[in-house]
């Protein structure tokens, strides 16, 4: 039967990854190098907040469940927790340490019950804070921290690899900070933020979904769904954005303090490149077929046929392209209190609102082509954090914490890109004063994300995703361990 007449004209409209080139703000070479050096300390972070937000930084803060809006740790991390808290530093402080993240996760297919595990690689993330009392009522500091970041890796054999098998968002906030004591009971702080960010998205292309003839996809010719034939790597250059962070502390009583902070949203415009590389389908045509009037004998590898189409050539539809996209790092508002119940016990509570509705969709604009739109429809979320500090002795503080983080993703967008859900986190930490102003902080956190149904495929082009596409269960958990040595100056 002469039924397979492939078109001579290729119609890879789905892959018009053609980008407009635009250049972001340019920095002097040496400053860029400095920033890159700082940012390199904060790369490759897994997700442990909500959306792609991360825990508040620092080992001390981690041990007490991320609380600290009303009482930041005395290690300079107030810059990220509440800029006004810098005023609480006795003199000055510098803290250096590292946090080890070991995430574990899997996707279990509803039907086959086959489990695909995340590429579980431990990630070590250094951190550094610094602040000092510059005058009796004035403190200054500088922080480089990462409120938003993401690194998700699945094996390439994962059914969801056509949505994404690796996603990376790296955003570092560089924040010089001033804190001022308005009155004995009121402190304020603020700092501008320069956000430095890169994003990366790796995925495979499914031959079944591509057009062989106008209106006839390869799937209609029998090519199985999930036949990878091209690898796609989209990586951005560094993008820069400006924002601000303000905070305030009210010393209500000697033992009770209230804190507020607001972190502005920062919009980032990325430019980058999409690179395509061919992958072998391994399919051998089992019977003689007619293609565009040519007879292809049985036993011909499909890859030979695809190679003859010149898809990846300089003029082909899968030639490397430039692209641009934008992403908004959402705003945060947090309020909290600290209450020193006894000389030994202090209770902390924080509420944080995050404006995740800003992450409505991810639009990648290929140069000269149609935009590729990933609908996310995130919702604004809240996070509740509680912490308990127990001053066991003059040199030892024991910390406990619990966090509940509401998931930002609706049921329809739980994908390999970010299989997100509500999370419960428990933390345990300790701070041990070694003498001479040196403190050793150690913390552990266990992250338990609610199991959540999700999908491994994208909706058909032009259609909205729905929970009906969900075909399995994402299960994510993580262990986090952190060590910091801080020095009070």
């Amino acid at each position: 039967m002469g039924i397979f007449i492939f078109g001579t004209k290729q119609t890879f409209t789905w892959l018009e990854y053609i980008m407009r080139t635009s250049r972001g703000p340019m920095l002097p070479w040496n400053r860029k190098r400095l920033l890159a050096g700082i940012c390199s300390l904060l790369l490759s972070l897994p997700v442990f907040g909500q959306g792609f937000s991360l825990n508040p930084p620092g080992t001390c803060t981690l041990g007490r469940g991320g609380t600290g809006v009303a009482q930041p740790c005395a290690d300079g991390s107030a810059i990220a927790l509440n800029p006004a808290g810098l005023m609480l530093l006795p003199q000055g402080a510098i803290a250096s340490g590292a946090t080890l993240y070991l995430s574990r996760g899997s996707f279990t297919d509803d039907y086959t019950q086959q489990e695909t595990r995340l590429d579980e690689q431990p990630v070590l993330v250094p951190h550094l804070f610094a602040g000092i009392q510059a005058a009796p009522k004035l403190a200054v500091g500088f922080g480089a921290y990462t409120p938003y970041g993401l690194e998700i890796r699945w094996p390439r054999t994962f059914a969801g690899s056509f949505v994404s098998y690796r996603t990376r968002v790296q955003t570092t906030y560089l924040q010089p900070t001033l804190a001022y004591q308005l009155s004995p009971r009121v402190m304020v702080g603020a700092g501008p933020i320069l956000a430095v960010s890169t994003i990366g998205l790796w995925q495979q292309l499914d031959l079944a979904q591509q057009e062989a003839l106008p209106g006839v996809p390869f799937a209609a010719l029998g090519i199985p769904l999930g036949t990878s034939f091209a690898n796609v790597k989209m990586e951005s250059n560094e993008a820069y954005g400006l924002g601000g962070h303000v905070g305030m502390l009210f010393q209500v009583t000697d033992r009770f303090r209230i804190g507020l902070r607001y972190l502005s949203a920062i919009k980032l415009n990325y430019t980058g490149t999409i690179r395509f590389s061919p992958l072998a389908t391994g399919i051998v045509i089992p019977a003689q077929v007619e293609l565009s009037g040519q007879t292809i004998p049985a036993g011909t590898p499909l890859d030979v046929v695809l190679a003859s189409l010149g898809l990846f050539g300089p003029q082909g539809p899968l030639a490397d392209r430039e692209a641009e996209t934008e992403l908004t790092m959402p705003a945060q508002f947090a309020a909290g209190f600290s209450w020193q119940a006894t000389l030994e016990l202090t209770l902390l509570f924080d509420y944080q609102w995050t404006g995740w509705s800003a992450f409505e969709r991810l639009t990648i604009q290929p140069k000269g082509g149609s935009p590729i739109v990933r609908i996310q429809d995130y919702r604004n979320t809240y996070t509740l954090r509680t912490g308990l500090l127990f001053q066991a002795s003059s040199i030892l503080e024991v910390r406990l914490g619990y966090i509940y983080a509401q998931g930002a993703a609706p049921s329809k967008t739980v994908t390999p890109l970010l299989p997100e859900a509500n999370r419960n986190l428990v933390t345990l930490g300790t701070g041990w004063r070694l003498g001479h102003g040196v403190t050793l902080d150690i913390a552990y956190q266990y992250v338990r994300q609610d199991d959540r149904r999700g999908r491994v495929v994208d909706p058909a082009p032009g259609t909205e995703p729905t929970p009906a596409l969900n075909s399995g269960l994402y299960q994510i958990s993580a262990h986090v361990a952190s060590v910091t040595v801080s020095v009070l100056l």
Partner: protein, 393 residues
């Protein structure tokens, strides 16, 4: 700080820690898990392996409507398990016959028309059967003795049946393969085309071994049909009687030996009608010779075919016993229908059902009613072995 004070101060922390751990560990939400098949966990993932019959081929064609009438679809419904088909778009690939006499196909389209596959395709295919497949084709697409065809590409995308089956991680399989290892020889009137029994056994064993390696927990093996019983084959004497009744044009002669010495010779419908009668209708004088025409099945050849089928089925039943799987001999029902006259000795080409209610317009492939019958027999066989309660409506 003395020990008592430590204890008192840490006590609330201890309880707080325990509470936090309980909160964090949480519980598995049963609502997140997929439902179990109503027929039991054994049928969580059912895959059907086979040839044109299992694929749903009828009346010389196949399309989505016919695919959904196939016995494994009915069986899967009884199991209450999802069952995805590689559905072909209507009118089919090729479209089925709608008129035996004129050869008209659905939609008035030619026999080499193909409407391709429906999209989007299912992620997992449960009916991996391919029309034309012999046992060797379950194992490989290329090589000596294989018979991969366009539908192998269209239905399975170039994978073998076993490769496609493995993707479903089957818990239960049905296997009805082997009919084409004798059918081609029967239609061609050449027993040399029969797959030798030892080769059949070797390939069948390899297939079962590979299925077991997939973790299959249970299965149903269906024996090879006695192809000499199907209505596509009529005895020579039936043609002689039809000639006497004036069923053929004057240019179509049935030799006397068909009514006498060649009475038990079997005549393939596709040869007698498709070639001889077609030529006679064009005005060419043709003769159906029941003794000397190599395209017919002599009694000896028929006996060879029947014995081969028996040897195949003895082996298949042994394998089912070895594995503890169910075995269904289709020939029991086939012979019963024949003896009841439900399978006509000679086709009534003017009737709506020329080959009776249980065979489609090509006289080879079962009709929808036959598929229902097969599904009922299969369910009963499975129930007997596995203690299940599958009921085919």
């Amino acid at each position: 700080m003395n020990r008592y004070r430590w204890h008192m101060m840490l006590r609330p922390l201890r309880w707080a820690l325990l509470g936090l751990l309980l909160l964090a560990l949480g519980c598995q939400d049963e609502g997140l898990l997929p439902p179990e098949p109503t027929g039991g966990a054994l049928f969580a993932r059912y895959v059907a392996i086979g040839n044109s019959i299992t694929a749903g081929y009828q009346s010389g064609g196949i399309n989505a409507t016919l695919q959904q009438q196939a016995y494994p679809v009915l069986l899967a419904k009884a199991m209450g398990t999802p069952f995805n088909l590689p559905l072909l778009r209507n009118p089919g690939c090729p479209p089925p016959l709608v008129n035996l006499l004129t050869g008209e196909r659905l939609g008035g389209l030619p026999g080499d028309f193909c409407a391709y596959r429906q999209v989007p395709p299912p992620r997992i295919i449960n009916n991996v059967a391919v029309p034309g497949a012999k046992v060797i084709d379950v194992l490989m697409n290329l090589g000596e003795g294989t018979s991969a065809n366009t539908l192998t590409l269209l239905l399975l995308g170039g994978r073998t049946q076993l490769e496609a089956a493995a993707e479903a991680h089957p818990t239960f399989v049905s296997v009805w393969i082997g009919n084409n290892d004798v059918l081609g020889a029967a239609i061609a009137g050449n027993t040399a085309l029969i797959t030798p029994v030892d080769a059949f056994q070797q390939r069948y064993t390899q297939m079962l071994n590979e299925l077991q390696a997939m973790g299959v927990q249970g299965g149903l093996l269906i024996g090879v049909a006695n192809v000499t019983v199907i209505p596509h084959f009529s005895p020579g004497i039936a043609y002689a009687q039809a000639e006497q009744a004036g069923a053929f044009p004057p240019t179509f002669d049935v030799a006397d030996n068909c009514a006498t010495t060649g009475a038990t010779t079997l005549v393939p419908f596709s040869y007698a009608f498709g070639e001889l009668l077609a030529a006679a209708m064009q005005g060419q004088s043709v003769t159906l010779d029941c003794e000397n025409d190599p395209r017919l099945l002599s009694p000896t050849e028929t006996s060879t075919l029947v014995q081969t089928v028996e040897q195949y089925n003895t082996f298949i039943q042994q394998q089912a016993d070895r594995l503890g799987w169910a075995y269904l001999d289709p020939n029991v029902k086939l012979l019963e229908l024949k003896s009841q006259g439900q399978i006509p000795v000679f086709p009534d080409v003017t009737a709506d059902e020329p080959f009776g209610p249980y065979f489609s317009l090509d006289g080879v492939h079962p009709s929808a009613a036959a598929h229902r019958l097969v599904a009922q027999e299969a369910a009963a066989t499975i129930n007997a072995v596995y203690g299940t309660n599958l009921q085919v409506q």
